[in-house]
Structures are given as structure tokens and as C-alpha cells.
């Protein structure tokens, strides 16, 4: 009997301590975010620091983003055609592909891939810099790691993600076109003109860009915080890397729902 009681008590204690831990991390993350915003001056004065990071986060993610976009576009066209043709409106395939990509799949899938490709790299890099005392060394040199290491990577993520999302949508549409027009035989004129007529600049494209900027902020900040907060051990860094993917993915999906619900009129 006492054993069961002790077990329940232990479980409750664990739950409570995990909860407090999560709240503490949320607070620490928010603090780092504002600290980083205040220390961002350096990133803009010496913009090449940001450009260097845009290369390693953005440019290095180009291959995975392009290949995925191409396949997603092709699958969308296949599935879309299959359904649309039942209603005799297979020319609307261009609109379907474009809207799905620009509104949802572009920003969301790009953010998920970005978290897996660039986010994990950022977390591991910062975590290892911490474990090998590089951040400490910087501090002792009177150089703030937040302004020299964290801020440039953050802004690089915020700049890269919308551009990657735009490329994703573009390449996706190209993939859709290749399946729909040359392979299935949908009329090319209908494909493009329907798309042009029904994709709205403000409601579709701008909203998609807003989403990708928000995802950029979330993914970069989560990756940076996880690295900065990682225990300086091999296990600590590996757990932090996993957490980056899990937390970023959940955050992107939840934010997507919240943003979409505000955007749909």
C-alpha cells in the first residue's frame, strides 16, 4: 500500500517538476529572445556576419527544399487531377496546385524541412561551441556571444525561410505543371490562366509570406535556444538537437493553425 502511495507521489512530483522546468525554459527562451533583439545592432552594422549565416542555413538547404518541392508539386497534380476530373473541372488543376502551395504547403513544409536541415545544424553547432568553451572564451574576450553568435544566425533564419518558401512554391508549381500538362495532357493555357485569375496577391501570396516569416522567427529561435541551453555534454547536445526538431515541428503546425484561422475571412 505504501509502495503504491509512494509511486503515485513520485509520479506527481515528476509531473510537477517537469512542468516547472518547461515554464522555466519558456522564460529563459523569452529572455534570450529579447536579449538577442537588443543586441542585434552588430548584425546590421556588420551585415556580412548575417550573409555568412544565410549561406550556411539558407543556401545549404536549397537542395533538400528544391527536391521536396518538386515531388510535392507532382503529387499534388496527380491527386488533384484524379479528383477534379470526376467533376469535369480538370483545368482547375493549376489553381489547386498553386493555392495549396502558396497558402499552406510552401511555408509549412519549408519550415519543417528547415527545422530538420538548418535548425538541427544550428543547435548542434551552438551546443558544441558551448561544450568546447568557445562561448565562454568569447565572453572572456569581452565579446558578447549573444550579439556575435546568436543574433546573426537568428536574422539569417528569418531572412532565409521566406525566400526558401517562395522557391518551394515556385518549384512545386513547376512540378505540378510537368505532371499536369505534358504528362496528363491538361491544356497549358487553362493551367496558367486559371492560376493567374484565382490566386490573389494579398490574400494568398502575402499571407503565405507572413506565415513563413513567423515560422522563420520560431524555428530559428527554438534552434538557437536549444543549443544555447544544452548541457555541455555529448548527450546534452544530442538531446537538444532532437528537441529542436520536435519543438519546431509542433510550433510550426500550431502556429499555422492559429495564423490560418486569423487569415481566413
Amino acid at each position: 500500500m505504501t509502495r503504491i502511495f509512494d509511486g503515485v507521489l513520485g509520479a506527481l512530483r515528476n509531473l510537477g517538476s517537469n512542468f516547472i522546468d518547461q515554464i522555466w525554459r519558456l522564460g529563459a527562451g523569452t529572455r534570450l529572445f529579447f536579449d538577442m533583439l537588443i543586441s542585434s545592432g552588430e548584425s546590421f552594422r556588420r551585415f556580412r556576419l548575417v550573409v555568412k549565416e544565410v549561406y550556411s542555413t539558407g543556401v545549404m538547404s536549397l537542395v533538400i527544399i528544391s527536391v521536396s518541392a518538386f515531388f510535392v508539386g507532382m503529387v499534388l497534380a496527380l491527386q488533384g487531377y484524379n479528383t477534379l476530373q470526376k467533376y469535369g473541372s480538370s483545368e482547375a488543376i493549376g489553381v489547386l496546385v498553386a493555392l495549396a502551395l502558396v497558402r499552406e504547403l510552401g511555408p509549412v513544409v519549408t519550415a519543417l524541412l528547415f527545422a530538420g536541415r538548418a535548425g538541427t545544424a544550428i543547435t548542434a553547432e551552438i551546443g558544441l561551441m558551448k561544450a568546447t568553451e568557445q562561448l565562454s572564451a568569447m565572453e572572456m574576450m569581452a565579446v558578447s556571444p549573444v550579439s556575435r553568435v546568436i543574433a546573426p544566425r537568428f536574422w539569417a533564419g528569418v531572412i532565409s525561410l521566406p525566400i526558401l518558401a517562395a522557391l518551394f512554391s515556385m518549384i512545386g508549381i513547376l512540378g505540378g505543371y510537368i505532371v499536369a500538362v505534358p504528362l496528363i495532357g491538361v491544356d497549358a493555357g487553362a493551367f496558367w490562366s486559371q492560376m493567374q485569375a484565382n490566386v490573389d496577391w494579398r490574400l494568398d501570396i502575402v499571407n503565405g509570406v507572413i506565415k513563413s516569416v513567423v515560422f522563420g522567427v520560431a524555428c530559428s529561435m527554438i534552434a538557437l535556444f536549444e543549443g544555447y541551453d544544452a548541457p555541455p555534454t555529448a548527450e546534452g547536445v544530442s538531446r537538444a538537437t532532437t528537441r529542436t526538431v520536435v519543438t519546431s515541428s509542433l510550433a510550426v503546425l500550431a502556429l499555422d493553425f492559429a495564423l490560418t484561422s486569423f487569415m481566413i475571412e
Binding site: 568553451e133 565562454s136 572564451a137 572572456m140 574576450m141 569581452a142 565579446v143 558578447s144
Partner: protein, 268 residues
């Protein structure tokens, strides 16, 4: 100008329930090489971090150039740190930058020197540690001893008043060890700096240090010149200096009765 560039006054520091330092006082006179010795886990490295202001003491204070470190705001702290150079245990070189860029890093970040002057300074600092020829290598291409020398060149990049060494001999071969030993003394005298060396290597330290503090159980257990300490009759110092296995510092971590523990586990 105070005679001691660094003063530690009745300092206590610890995490949660464990006090690492219990009222430590030390002074580091200008131009001298002072070593802090003690067993692993005795809080020697933490002392360097307290001097550098990375930790705040629970009680007491550290003064650098007459200024209380933990009472400085961020700007004041960064001003103080510009007087310090620190050599970390594994060097802590920035792995994404070449040897040249590592040494140039503090100059680029903290000064507006023109590129030509940075180049000259970097080559001079690297020459002082004997690695001018290695300036285009990446940190991964260096041996442990070389990495430590590059880190030393980086630590003296902006001509600090104080150089702190955290376990400079850990994991080095005898040749690299002798090189570092020699560099500590030479740089100290040539640059007119004060050196604080945290270490547990007795022979090397006794060969170059002017004064030595022994830390044990959170207090200064002994202090003096190398000759004083060699003749010390204190049991702990004797055990440490002559590297005896058992003595006041026991071989066994505190544990319950051995026999009882082995027999007890059967009944579980």
C-alpha cells in the same frame, strides 16, 4: 595603481547545498607568476571564472585593478575583461576560423585597426608562440600542444595585463609541456604581465612559479614559494607534492561499511 592587480578577499562560492570555496583570500602581485594548485574538483577553475566575472560570489569579493568584479555592470565588466587574457583548458579555438583568424578575432571585434596592422600584429603574436608558419591551418589540423599555443597567442592578442591559464599542461606530451612552461615564464617577463596559472602538475609549476597557493576543502591549505612548499611538513601538501597514493586525501570516496554493503545486497 594598486600593488596587487588581483585580490581575492574572503570569497565564498558554491552551487545549491555544496560550498566550493569557504572564505578564500589570495593576492596576485603585478609582474609575478602565481600558481593555484589543488586536486581535481577543488574549485581552481571556478576561481578563474570568478576573477573573470562569469560567476558571482556568494560572499566576499574579487577585485581586479582595485575594482570589485561582481559589482560591475555589463560595460564595466567588459572593460575589466579587456585587461585579461584567458587560456582555456582545451584551447577553445573557434573551429570555423583559421589559426590566423582566431588570433585576429579579438582585434577585429574590439578595435578599429586597419587590416595591414592586424596582419602584422597577428604574425607577431603567432611568432611569439612559434607558430607563424601555421597561420593558415584550421584548428582541427593542430595537435593539442599547438592548439594551446594558438590559444595563447589569441589570449595575448590585445596585450592584456593579466593572463590566466586553466590547466595549461593537461593532456600534453613532455615536449609540448616544456614549451608551454617556457612560454608562461617568457611571456610574463617579456610583456610585463601578471600570470595566474591553475594546475595540478607539481614539477612544472614549481619550476616557473614565483608563488603558489594550495587549495583544498574550499580553503587555502598552504601558500608560499616553491622552496617553502617543498619543505612543508603539512601532511596534505606532502602527499600532493610527492604524489603519494594515500594520506589525508583518501583513495576511497566516502562510503558505508564494505562488508555490510556486500552482504546486505543479498537480502534484497
Amino acid at each position: 595603481m594598486t600593488q596587487n592587480i588581483v585580490e581575492i578577499d574572503n570569497l565564498s562560492f558554491g552551487y545549491k547545498n555544496r560550498l566550493l570555496h569557504k572564505g578564500i583570500s589570495m593576492s596576485f602581485p603585478r609582474g609575478k607568476v602565481v600558481a593555484i594548485m589543488g586536486g581535481s574538483g577543488s574549485g581552481k577553475t571556478t576561481l578563474l571564472r570568478l576573477i573573470g566575472g562569469q560567476f558571482k560570489p556568494n560572499k566576499g569579493e574579487v577585485r581586479v585593478d582595485g575594482k570589485v568584479v561582481h559589482k560591475q555592470n555589463d560595460d564595466g565588466l567588459y572593460q575589466l575583461r579587456r585587461k585579461m587574457g584567458m587560456l582555456f583548458q582545451q584551447g577553445a579555438l573557434f573551429t570555423d576560423l583559421s589559426v590566423y583568424e582566431n588570433v585576429a578575432f579579438p582585434m577585429r571585434e574590439l578595435t578599429d585597426l586597419p587590416e595591414s596592422m592586424i596582419r602584422d600584429l597577428v604574425l607577431m603574436k603567432l611568432n611569439a608562440v612559434g607558430l607563424r608558419g601555421a597561420n593558415q591551418l584550421m584548428p582541427t589540423e593542430l595537435s593539442g600542444g599547438m592548439a594551446r599555443r594558438v590559444a595563447l597567442a589569441r589570449a595575448i592578442a590585445l596585450d592584456p595585463d593579466i593572463i590566466m591559464y586553466d590547466e595549461p599542461f593537461a593532456g600534453l606530451d613532455p615536449i609540448s609541456m616544456a614549451v608551454i612552461c617556457d612560454l608562461i615564464r617568457t611571456l610574463n617577463d617579456a610583456l610585463g604581465v601578471t600570470s595566474i596559472v591553475v594546475t595540478h602538475d607539481v614539477e612544472e609549476t614549481f619550476s616557473f612559479a614565483d608563488y603558489i597557493y594550495f587549495v583544498a576543502d574550499g580553503v587555502v591549505a598552504a601558500e608560499g614559494t616553491p622552496d617553502d612548499l617543498r619543505q612543508s611538513t603539512l601532511p596534505f601538501i606532502h602527499q600532493f607534492v610527492y604524489g603519494e597514493k594515500d594520506g589525508p586525501v583518501p583513495f576511497h570516496y566516502p562510503a558505508g561499511d564494505y562488508q555490510q554493503e556486500l552482504l546486505g545486497s543479498k537480502n534484497d
